[in-house]
Symmetry: D2
Subunit: 304 residues, 4 copies
């Protein structure tokens, strides 16, 4: 369990104190506020605050679409139009703030998304908890044979057990030594030095705030099957929250980005030829082997 009784009491207290506001309110995300959404073995995602809703996207877009604009415009239609034509600024008008607890190696991937605000728990200043990510046996995958940065089959039996033993024992030993080095009556090493003994599986936490446009960009890359499974678990959790927060924007994002695809000029040419009934092979496609593999996986199944 990643939250103490004391922390849960603070969450309950926060949820028990509704206030009045004149701002835009999204009922869908109010139900999530402060609550813990568990991710992996000790991690979580919590919504701390948000700004705006589907209407706020349209309201901002229409500053640019004032007098001389068609008077009636369906919000959902406008949002789909904006998404289809890569208008990013209206989506930037919504903002969300999350509290996330996550392993350090996931945090190192996450932080690469630079257009966001972050306050991380400081291991120079404070002492980290004894919490390490240990994968569920179902997530213990072998190195992929086809993709240098991917996973293959799940490890089984003794091999899985050996990996789990290593991860647990090394983490425990590292933390024992961390405590020994920190002991004020013993070694009393500076915190900023002692923490360097801790493995990348240790959990950290941060406040992370970003706008909806950049959040969608994050989700497109991190809820993707090519993302590492561990960060994808966080992205999936955030997706469920966004779907409740801004349902129209989420629906457009799912259709145009998550579920859509891009085609190169060569790929378009191949599809046009296929639609005219021509056969296309890698040789006649102009594509490299890797490119053709990706293209044909999506588009050749209909004609097989």
């Amino acid at each position: 369990m990643s939250v103490t009784a004391d922390q849960q009491a603070q969450i309950d207290a926060a949820r028990g104190s509704p206030r009045q506001t004149l701002r835009a309110v999204s009922d869908g995300i109010e139900q999530h506020l402060y609550r813990v959404h568990p991710v992996l073995d000790h991690g979580f995602v919590r919504v701390i605050d948000y700004m705006g809703d589907d209407s706020a996207i349209c309201q901002a877009a229409r500053v640019s679409y004032g007098r001389g604009t068609r008077s009636v415009q369906n919000d959902e239609g406008l949002i789909r139009y904006l998404m289809r034509h890569w208008h990013s600024t209206p989506f930037e008008m919504c903002e969300i703030k999350l509290h996330v607890k996550l392993p350090v190696f996931v945090a190192r991937q996450w932080i690469r998304h630079r257009t966001a605000n972050v306050n991380e728990y400081s291991a120079r200043y404070s002492i980290l908890d004894r919490e390490f990510y240990v994968p569920d046996p179902s997530a213990l995958a072998a190195q992929s044979t086809t993709n240098n940065q991917g996973r293959g089959a799940v490890l089984e039996g003794d091999r899985a057990q050996r990996v789990l033993d290593i991860l647990r024992q090394d983490a425990d030993r590292a933390y024992d030594h961390y405590e020994e080095m920190l002991d004020e009556n013993g070694l009393n090493l500076a915190r900023e030095l002692a923490r360097m003994n801790l493995p990348a599986s240790i959990y950290t936490q941060w406040y992370w705030k970003t706008d909806l446009h950049n959040l969608f960009h994050f989700l497109r890359l991190r809820a993707d099957p090519h993302a590492q499974m561990e960060i994808r678990a966080y992205a999936d959790s955030v997706c469920a929250i966004v779907a409740d927060w801004v349902p129209a924007a989420w629906s457009a994002f799912r259709d145009y980005r998550l579920g859509g695809t891009t085609l190169s000029a060569r790929g378009m040419d191949c599809l046009h030829r296929m639609l005219r009934g021509e056969g296309v092979t890698q040789e006649t496609s102009g594509m490299s082997a890797g490119e053709w593999r990706e293209f044909s996986a999506v588009w050749m199944k209909d004609t097989a």
Copy 2:
């Protein structure tokens, strides 16, 4: 008057519909929401939305200051500490969204602040209103004789009248021609072309959203006496809003940034010598003439 009766009715309706929320609420800024704060002759600033309050700054900062942290920390003291030591990320955890109506030449200065989100009324798509900034006579200043980008004495009498006549007549003629070029039954020129006849005094409007850290940076530069008077009028209006929104952060900002100063190593050396009772002149200061002028204006008055 910069707002129509219809627009005012929409504002009143928005202010008449309070909702419940579990988020942080700042009563000080709720009173400003949607209301028109007039600026210059036709411009305004309106608060459309906000996220966070003084407590939200501390809450975010303390993720980094968790276990092992002193248990009691006064919020105001923490905020002053963060401001003094240039901690920027906790202030980034508050966000504000404004609707601003402003002359194009002011908008061109404003947009240089890049870490913000903007949706501007589009003159490609829509038709601009006949509203131009014409300075109040008290603002009609001559070119400064000492500062290439500054103002000198106020113009008087016929000179002032001639300037006002030029500005008004040229603006009116330009707008007459804009309408003539747009006339669907006449020239019917594309909007994106016709707008290029309009002078930089015409009003545009936008939604502008930024975080508190970047807003403070904007205010430090634009509420400064060296900023052009017209953008300073907007900055002053925003300052009054921020003071109500996050009073502790505002107070720290006013003390450390707006009311404070910076000293170079040379300047520090001069002050140390002056404190020891030595006399300091430009020659012995190591400063250039311009640097010494700025330094002595602040620091030599006590010893004169």
Copy 3:
């Protein structure tokens, strides 16, 4: 002509002084350095400096692909792979600095690309030249009847002449009055005020610096047929420079971005059905009228 003899002499001098360097050099762009590439009637694009070449993209990417990586990797293949899979950071490792002279209304669109560095000629500090954009008659288009922000047929005869007369006469009068207001022996109005009488067709200039990833994003939006013709003229000029600077990256960009397209999940479903020989109509596509119009313009021509 947009460059004086004195300025041309400075350009020639700069081109006449080669130096030795140990840095990566791209011969393709060296030939462009400092030279004026005319755009519109008085504008230009000049390359002032650059960092990196095609190899620099691969070199940076391979920091992430060190030991354990296949030893031989064709640079062009790697660049296509990076582009196809939306890897942005290696392209950020190239940088370009341009000197651009452009009408203010174009500058206002351009500046919306925030991830760039800009130093603009200051009309608070200095005096602008008497140079205004007046469209070539072939560019004088009527308002589009189908697209609120587009152009329709070219104006002809008296209508065109009337528009040109308005633009020229209003610009001239505005500049005459600008000079009158600035006259040090006359009205002597502050420069920061006098400039507000100038129309958006006046030329300004700036130094603009960005990385290749963000430049590609700029070009994708601004070299697009939906961009206003005037900014597209600048984008086209930059495209020609980029093609000489980083030919492999340019080729990948042209194939995957400029010449490619995106498909929504609904669009993919329609294409799959069409490939299987099914007929698809707007009714059975799940798309709105506008979406279907865009989709069918690209994909229905083969089956007509």
Copy 4:
């Protein structure tokens, strides 16, 4: 030694191939190009590329200072003026690209500077080397008693030895297990999982590119005595490079930022009173205890 013979041969080859260019060249930094500047026990900083020099800062600034500008302006004076008045954009016109090898816990601090471009060696894709930071005994400091995130006295004798033993043995064991988990003929765990067993003392490497303005901001925070000693070692190494690259900008930065200070309104008031001969104490200063401690450490020594 942090560079292999093979790597050194590549560096020598790069330095042995000068090319001609028409770009601005800074002789001061050319001597650094590609060379290894060792930092800590296995780390380094290498300059890979740069754009611009002191003159490029002035050249960009003067676009804004064209006609109507004083004709003669000393470059160094202009640079000092720009630095003193917080003009950031001219400094953004210079760019530098570094190759850095650094411990993960340092990388985690470094990456917080978001306005930069980064390509990091990928431990999902590749295998990390067996290189860990082990502090020099002189750097093995106890936890500070006055500053939660600082260091106190150096550990001695057995205490120091015990810490070093822990750090070395845990690192070695973690790497042994890393290799065991990666063994293709053994456990063959996916690289993206195996790496989570590695401690934060392991070295990673990246290409890091930023502009001079943001580099100065980085150096101001990271070459500061309050920064952790390990990242300060990198900042100091970069400072020496910048001093050779842009000597005038470096000199201004050192005077106004590194060696300068900021004063709050309260601090200014105290100094004015002291200059008039008044005594000032914490009680009459309006400052908190912490603020007064910082103020008096700088300013009270002259009057003691």
